[in-house]
């Protein structure tokens, strides 16, 4: 990853008259964490980093900015936000534009070809109790990890986030400037989903009951999701109260089904929900099931094209209708 080139592009973006600030990554305060960086023009551009540790999605911050109440058209000028986007982030942005969440001309996208990121849980299990900020670089299929002055070499497969192994588009699909080489789209992999589908009904039920019983309903998965930006949410509604506040298996099941179905044809597979889940629920298993259905039934992929119509708002006469009995 060419960080120098990223900094140059970032400086160029911030030099533009219409760019208000840039959202990127900076070093976190401890261990293997990175922080989002909000850099305004004339601020220090050197704090910007890009490493395999940058495993969070920044797209959410775009929406948070735009939904501030009381902002007039005048206050939004200069109106552009520059954002550093990986492959999955670019799909999130595509869908935002498609759903008219953010107009395209409000964004200046610096695309970064992504080689996959590190799973926070894996690296923290491998190097526990690291308090100083660590550094990671990638070299020939290995991660070079500098922890407390010592350098370790770890094969990439051991730390790579599982979702990155099934990533379809490592290169951003939408960008103003691209850093790094264009990587080819990868084939579909839904083997683990198909294997789970093949299990008997009772076994699947038992599995999910066990999983959902762990959920503490902190709603972190909902809050972090770049697809969730409506101000009215059925989960918060008290009248009517669709869902009780108690965190028991039945309410949790209902919550997870609502959350997952909300992502039907919209999930872009960034895996943020799973990353932030304090109880390690396999949420992407549900999301990827819907992704698989969307692909197999409707040949639809979310976030591929900003001009496409979203799946559940369109109807074609040739759509499969097996669900009508």
């Amino acid at each position: 990853m060419n960080v120098q080139k990223l900094k140059e592009e970032a400086a160029r973006a911030l030099g533009r008259k219409d760019v208000k600030y840039l959202i990127g990554y900076k070093k976190g305060s401890y261990g293997f964490r990175v922080s989002p960086a909000f850099i305004e023009p004339k601020e220090d551009i050197d704090q910007l980093i890009m490493s395999p540790l940058c495993n969070m999605s920044l797209v959410k911050y775009v929406m948070m900015e735009e939904t501030l109440p009381g902002l007039t058209e005048q206050a939004l000028k200069p109106s552009k936000i520059a954002i550093v986007a990986r492959g999955c982030d670019s799909r999130a942005i595509n869908l935002l534009i498609e759903e008219k969440g953010v107009p395209r001309d409000r964004l200046y996208i610096i695309g970064v070809s992504c080689q996959g990121v590190i799973d926070q849980r894996k690296i923290e299990a491998r190097f526990p109790q690291v308090t100083e900020p660590a550094e990671v670089t990638e070299e020939n299929g290995n991660y070079i990890i500098t922890v407390q002055g010592q350098s370790h070499t770890v094969p990439k497969e051991e730390l790579l986030a599982e979702l990155c192994t099934v990533c379809r588009y490592p290169t951003p699909l939408i960008y103003d400037k691209l850093i790094g080489d264009k990587l080819a789209a990868r084939p579909f992999h839904y083997d683990e989903i198909a294997a789970f589908e093949a299990l008997p009904l009772e076994e699947r039920l038992a599995y999910w009951q066990q999983q959902f019983s762990k959920c503490v309903r902190c709603y972190a998965c909902r809050n972090v999701c770049p697809r969730w930006y409506s101000t009215i949410c059925s989960l918060d509604s008290l009248s009517p109260q669709w869902l009780r506040r108690s965190a028991d298996t039945s309410e949790n099941f209902m919550f997870q089904i609502i959350r997952t179905f909300h992502l039907a044809g919209r999930c872009i597979g960034c895996g943020e929900c799973e990353r932030v889940c304090p109880m390690n629920l396999p949420l992407m298993k549900l999301n990827r099931k819907l992704e698989k259905d969307a692909k197999e039934l409707f040949n639809y992929e979310s976030g591929k094209d900003p001009k496409a119509k979203s799946l559940l708002t369109t109807f074609h006469t040739e759509d499969p209708q097996g669900f009508i009995l």
Binding site: E197, L201, L205, A206, T249, Q256, K289, L290, F323
Partner: protein
């Protein structure tokens, strides 16, 4: 898609059903309801995910 999601999470897909019935099709409506009730009686009530009484 909801049907297949429910099936994925271990709910019998027979429990969810969608049909188009026009207001003038009283007979069809009765048939659909009779059929689904019969099917549901065969499966019996869902034993899991029961909301606890408060």
């Amino acid at each position: 898609m909801l049907r297949s999601l429910l099936e994925f999470s271990g709910i019998n897909p027979l429990r969810l059903r969608m049909s188009w019935v026009s207001a003038s099709e009283g007979k069809k409506f009765a048939d659909v309801i009779t059929e689904i009730t019969k099917e549901l009686q065969e499966i019996g009530p869902q034993q899991s995910y029961i909301r606890e009484a408060v």
